[in-house]
């Protein structure tokens, strides 16, 4: 097997919320330490339908002498993830990773704001773990938005890592009622623009709304994007996203190889 390609054995694959699954994959100890925000391509069947591998961001990672464990938190929303959801303990999967560029966790400001929408919590959870280790003195606040109480995932784990978590739901069944971007906006004045790092992941409309809110502010915001992918390694150009290049001109960047993490201000929304 070539570098980066591993066979994994499913240790656990449980539905922790409606349509939301936690999969634990055991693989070789040589699997590289992933950065928060990186992803794997998971080949879910040897068949031709579904044909492509699925890009799933890494939720957690651990290793011991004998093996590594990759955790994926995913929603079964399409054909591929639904088949993933049906995989039982002991099933083997082929994985390629870790892929892409993770969040920049080096140049971190004193205040850290993490904004997640729905299953976008997956890469941000790993980011939170990392930042708590690398920047324990920072003031961290997490804004977590979900459609409703029945969709809330990954909260318990984060509560152990961060004392300051604001949960909201679209229908008000848990926490404040409203979109997570709106809840953040109400608090925005509290954060010094030049001394705050913002990290976000969630559905496209949420990130777009965040872009509008942060427009004309000096906040630095990194976002992790999702796009349909074929290769995952930068070859096919299928997962392009429209961005502004250095000179402000339109360019297409690959979510897999140039991302999935981008500066929010570089993204061009239609």
């Amino acid at each position: 097997m070539a570098a980066n390609i591993y066979i994994g054995e499913i240790l656990e694959n449980v539905e922790i919320q409606e349509d939301c699954f936690l999969m634990k994959i055991k693989t070789a100890p040589s699997f590289q330490n992933p950065l928060p925000g990186q992803f794997i391509m998971i080949r879910i069947s040897g068949l031709n339908d579904p044909f492509l591998s699925r890009p799933i961001s890494i939720y957690a990672f651990s290793r011991n002498e004998d093996y590594s464990t990759i955790e994926l938190l995913y929603r079964a929303v399409g054909k591929g993830t639904q088949i993933m959801a049906g995989l039982i303990e002991g099933s083997m999967v082929e994985i390629n990773g870790p892929l892409g560029n993770g969040f920049d966790t080096k140049s971190v400001k004193e205040n850290i704001v993490i904004i997640s929408g729905g299953i976008g919590i997956a890469p941000l959870s790993m980011l939170t773990e990392t930042l708590q280790k690398t920047h324990p003195a920072s003031n961290m606040i997490i804004y977590k938005g979900f459609q409703s109480a029945s969709a809330v995932v990954g909260l318990k784990k984060l509560q152990k890592l961060c004392r300051n978590i604001s949960v909201c739901t679209d229908d008000g069944t848990m926490g404040e009622k409203g979109f997570v971007t709106g809840i953040f906006q109400k608090d925005m004045k509290k954060f010094p623009q030049d001394n705050t790092s913002i990290y976000a992941c969630g559905p496209r409309p949420m990130l777009r709304s965040l872009a509008n809110i942060l427009n004309r502010t000096k906040f630095c915001c990194q976002v992790s994007l999702e796009e349909r992918m074929a290769c995952g390694v930068g070859a096919c150009m299928g997962c392009a996203v429209a961005v502004k290049d250095k000179n402000g001109a339109l360019a297409h960047r690959r979510v897999c190889a140039d991302g999935p993490v981008f500066n929010l201000q570089d993204i061009i929304w239609e």
Binding site: R228, A242, H252
Partner: protein
């Protein structure tokens, strides 16, 4: 397949007229980047050839996203030939590829005859390019592309234009989106093509039930993957009956068995495309699988099996 112990590994080298390859397995343009994207997964020197992403005179932005959609047994793409341009390729990508003992084939694209000419000229004086593959078959661009490949007369002019500009072997890549692929093949052969490769992708569509909009921003895209292999085999067969220059088979090859089907028909080489996406080592697996097949059948040289089809 069962492995049989043989004292010598079968000979895999093939000659495609002026282009000599270490083995018949090439990568297909647009599916292997500029080679470097896959260099961490496999030793490029083990490939018959690396065919790079289509190069144009100036960098191209490509089509707006979303650009791909999975289909049963394949995928649609409408990348629109996003590439860094021929100058940046020569400057930034070619030096890396020169380190490998594999043929480098530059796939070229132009919106006009003159652009084809200029791209061909630049690559012909660059060190480390072994052949040009003329793309007159991209279904995803508004100018050039398939419009050059659908008309035998225009295809012939593009071929002649490139031939006049280069001393390198010229491969012409044909589109399946025509009524009579053999007519285009005959025209480009007469115009001086050294080799023909086919097929490019089949034009297709996919509709999102939630939004009732196309899955691809470009509306239509090119279908690739195992779903198209029978069409590719049929077209390769039709072309082989009408031309005498070497033919490269492309279309839905996932395994050594798939590749052997094309070789048995008479293709001198094959290109592996979409398979790379789901298995970065697909090309190597196919090379090894062909060797095993040959050994199992007591065949000492790949050339003994090429063109042995019995209709």
């Amino acid at each position: 397949m069962k492995t049989m112990k043989t004292k010598t590994s079968p000979k895999m080298a093939v000659n495609l007229g002026p282009l000599k390859l270490n083995n018949p397995v090439m990568t297909a343009s647009g599916t292997f980047g500029y080679g470097e994207e896959y260099a961490g997964y496999l030793d490029l020197s083990r490939l018959g050839a690396v065919v790079v992403k289509g190069l144009s005179l100036k960098p191209r932005l490509g089509n707006p996203p979303p650009r791909i959609m999975e289909t049963s047994g394949g995928m649609l793409n409408s990348i629109g030939l996003q590439n860094i341009g021929v100058d940046a390729f020569i400057e930034e990508k070619l030096p890396f590829l020169r380190k490998y003992n594999t043929a480098v084939v530059a796939n070229i694209y132009g919106e006009t005859y003159d652009e084809f000419k200029q791209v061909a000229k630049k690559l012909s004086s660059a060190k480390g390019v072994h052949a040009l593959e003329v793309n007159i078959s991209c279904p995803n661009v508004k100018k050039g592309g398939v419009s050059f490949g659908a008309d035998p007369k225009v295809a012939a002019i593009v071929t002649r234009t490139v031939k006049d500009e280069t001393g390198l072997p010229v491969i012409v890549k044909l589109t399946p989106n025509v009524t009579d692929v053999a007519a285009v093949a005959v025209a480009v052969e007469k115009a001086g093509a050294d080799i023909i490769s086919l097929i490019n992708t089949l034009t297709g569509m996919s509709v999102d039930l939630k939004t009732r909009r196309p899955h691809l921003k470009n509306i239509t895209g090119g279908l690739s993957g195992p779903a198209i292999k029978p069409v590719a085999l049929r077209m390769v067969w039709q072309v082989l009956q009408k031309v005498s220059i070497p033919v490269i088979g492309i279309g839905g090859i996932m395994t050594a068995e798939d590749a052997l089907e094309f070789l048995i028909l008479g293709a001198k080489a094959v290109q592996i495309g979409t398979a790379n996406f789901i298995n970065p080592c697909a090309t190597l697996d196919i090379i090894e699988g062909i060797k095993i097949y040959l050994a199992d059948n007591g065949i000492k040289d790949i050339n003994e099996i090429i063109g042995t089809f019995r209709p």
